[in-house]
């Protein structure tokens, strides 16, 4: 059980619990370039947390730090009440963190179902040989995993493309399949890197509904990066705003909207 101090209730009545993940004074450099400078924020259990900012603000780098893909030069990442040692991606996945990518990273030649099944990989214990021979526990295990994959397919309403190779799908559906694969891992924390980039209004609305439903139905904590301000403000409980690698705002959508620094970063400041 996490420390529940400072838990809060959202405007629509959801109870947000303790801190799941905390960034403490993170600084990330690539050679001489400082991508992230001394940023701290937390993600609480059950909330939808957004990271926004103009192009090149360091949002994706931040998400990669959260997912353990980048190891920051300074600062600590705390997960469930203790500092997280440097980990390889699969170890992070085992901790219950799943993600999607800005530029879709699916197996193009495989069917939607197979792609979603890869999300179950960390939950499979039988060996390669047992699975190939279809002997012993392998069969029961696959059945159980398939059931979860099918529930996710049903949840995201992609039944009609279950057996379609991913390469043949339009962009909006690929994004949905990627979300399906992440969900199949039954994550506690879901990281979404620009889930709505390049979508039309209708696809965006669908995606918003799915994100809200995931949060509501499975109680999954969600951290997302997004460009579309309207979407972010509607969707998220709390927002971190970044600009040039620095945090310039943190709070509820209303607070952030009223923040002068945020307004300047988005609309520009006159220099005369």
């Amino acid at each position: 059980m996490l420390d529940q101090t400072d838990g809060y209730t959202t405007a629509d009545g959801r109870k947000i619990g303790g801190v799941v993940m905390e960034m403490k004074n993170i600084t990330l450099r690539f050679g001489g370039v400082t991508a992230i400078e001394d940023i701290s924020f937390d993600i609480r259990e059950g909330e939808i947390r957004a990271i926004i900012g103009p192009n090149g603000a360091g949002k994706s780098s931040m998400l990669n730090v959260v997912s353990g893909f980048y190891i920051p030069q300074e600062g600590e990442v705390w997960f469930r009440g203790s500092p997280r040692p440097p980990m390889r991606p699969f170890e992070v996945a085992r901790q219950g963190i799943a993600r999607t990518f800005q530029n879709i990273a699916l197996f193009e030649g495989m069917t939607v179902l197979d792609n979603v099944m890869t999300g179950r990989l960390t939950h499979m214990n039988t060996g390669v040989i047992a699975q190939a021979l279809w002997k012993g526990k392998a069969e029961a295990e696959e059945t159980a995993n398939r059931e979860i994959a099918e529930k996710v397919i049903d949840f995201l309403e992609i039944q009609h493309i279950r057996k379609t190779p991913v390469a043949r799908l339009p962009y909006g559906l690929k994004k949905r399949v990627e979300l399906a694969r992440a969900l199949a891992a039954e994550p506690k924390l879901l990281l979404l890197d620009e889930p709505m980039a390049g979508m039309n209004v209708e696809e965006k609305e669908d995606m918003c509904r799915f994100i809200l439903d995931v949060n509501d139905e499975f109680g999954t904590t969600i951290a997302l990066i997004e460009h579309d301000m309207g979407v972010v403000m509607d969707l998220s409980d709390r927002v971190v705003v970044m600009d040039y690698g620095k945090k310039i705002g943190d709070g509820t959508p209303d607070e952030v909207r009223a923040n002068q620094q945020v307004i300047d970063a988005y609309l520009g400041v006159s220099h005369d």
Partner: protein
Amino acid sequence: MTQTQAATSGSLSIPALLKRNATQFANKPAYREKEFGIWQSWTWSEVDKEIEALALGLLNLGVKKGDFIAIIGRNRPYLYWSMVAAQCVGAVPVPVYQDAVAEEMAYVLGHCGARFVIVGDQEQVDKVIEVQENLHQFEHMIYLDPRGLRKYDHTHLHQFSHVQDQGRAAYNELINELNSRQDVLTYDDPCVMLYTSGTTGKPKGVVLSNRNVIESARNSSEFDNLGPGEEILAYLPMAWVGDFIFSIGQAFWTGFCVNCPENPDTMTQDLREIGPTYYFAPPRVFETQLTNVMIRMEDAGKFKKRLFDKYMEHARKVGPALLDSKPVSMGDRLKYWIGDKLVYGPLKNTLGFTRVRVGYTAGEAIGPEIFDFYRSLGINLKQLYGQTEATVFITAQPDGEVRSDTVGVPCPDVELKIGDNGEVFYRSPGVFVEYYKNPESTADTKDPEGWVATGDAGFIEEGTGHLRIIDRAKDVGKMASGSLFAPKYVENKLKFFPNVLEVVVFGAGREECTAFINIDLAAVGNWAERNNIAYASYQELAGNPQVLQAIQDHVQEVNESVAADEMLSGCQIHRFVVLHKELDADDGELTRTRKVRRRIIEEKYADIIAALYDGSESVSTTTEVTYEDGRKGSISATLQIRSAKVLPVGQKMAAE
């Protein structure tokens, strides 16, 4: 005769038929639904238990005898059970079109005064909540899929499975009440109320009695020898009378199995997996399927294409004759058999028609080419003519007497007569009880002797006794010259071209006929792709000069064939316009069953019609559109008006 006796001796209601099936076909599948990638099935005895639990749950919530229970959602077994459970407790189910906009839904729910509403998912819950303020009698809503509904106020909202659980828990207290309510159901009690989509005015609630439904189901099942072994796929709207008769009436009468698709987008895959033996589809579905087949054949390799063309030609020649058991030479039979192995069989399998024994199409006229295509493959596709007020069946084509230009002979127990103005009247055991709360309309439609006006003009063909429908009686008019104007006749001829989706012809009281045309995006889009014609939107494609030329050729071809008909040669299309948007039910231009609403279109596009008649070359217009969520927007466009070649009208002009 034994079945007739059963009908009169015991099975006087759908719940009574359920009890019979639960013993007679206890372990036979009654309903299937694909969920989580697997076909889940329920036997008749399981269905009996599920319905009983729901009926007890409804009693527990306080459903009274004579209440109306609205049912809204896509085809799912649970919703079919809801209808029967409602009947079990003496209430009347009212299925409502699930894609109806909130306003339409509010009218229907308010008109019948539904106290209870059973819906599929969050979308429907939201819609009902949106309109509930004005619904004074509305009390409780039950939903199937809990997704997204966790946070909602559950004072008047219940999950389907919870209602059943509560029903099971209260079994001992309520079972006597349930049994006594079922026992008093008579043959003349209302079985269901269905709202007609209404080409004019507000929808009307058609009340059908147990007698209407059971007699119609019995007659039609016997007409086509339907037995308990049939499989059907339930995918047409639940609020449509046909679905009610097929998926409840005939299913409960004969005990066959109803299969529900996984979701609307998987229909074609599910159709293939189930392989129904009894299939119904409006002409549009057959048209779309044929268009898809043709598009895929265009993309196929040369060898396959040639094989397909060669054997389809042969099938067109002998297929229909074989189906009608007419004499065919041994050589042709052998060639057809080879074709069946190479082409027809695999094609039918892909379409999901391998096992179809009886197939029906109705609602609109079907193109002779489309009709012949399916029949030549050996699919026993037939036409029927019916309406909600008749509990579907008025006429149907018996095996061996199938033609594309008639709608068949009267169904068993149906009497037909033709009125003085050419309108078709019928009388049958299926004739509806009344329009709910609308005695004037009831009296207008049904005379004291039980004859019902169909509103369609037609005639009975001499010799064969088949009925032929010309058009809606009120649409058949006179042109300024006095010659006969039958828009549907011309529209149908044009719609048989794959490029054309919808046509509206104008000309009543005018000198000449003109037309609005909608292109078919699938067919024309594919053609554009193959010819390297770039387009960004429907509007742009519809305005492409090459597309306009192709449509003009179609119009001229139709004019030639119309000119050949003495009576209707005045209906040739002089000028036409290809519309910049698809006619849509959401904009009120079509009914939910996709029939054209002429008056509304005439009002809405008055500017374009004016331009069609004043000789201008083009017209600029702005059209309001309604999105599915009820918001409105507008499209503006400049449309080109084209003149088509017409042939001189036959010398027997009435005006001369």
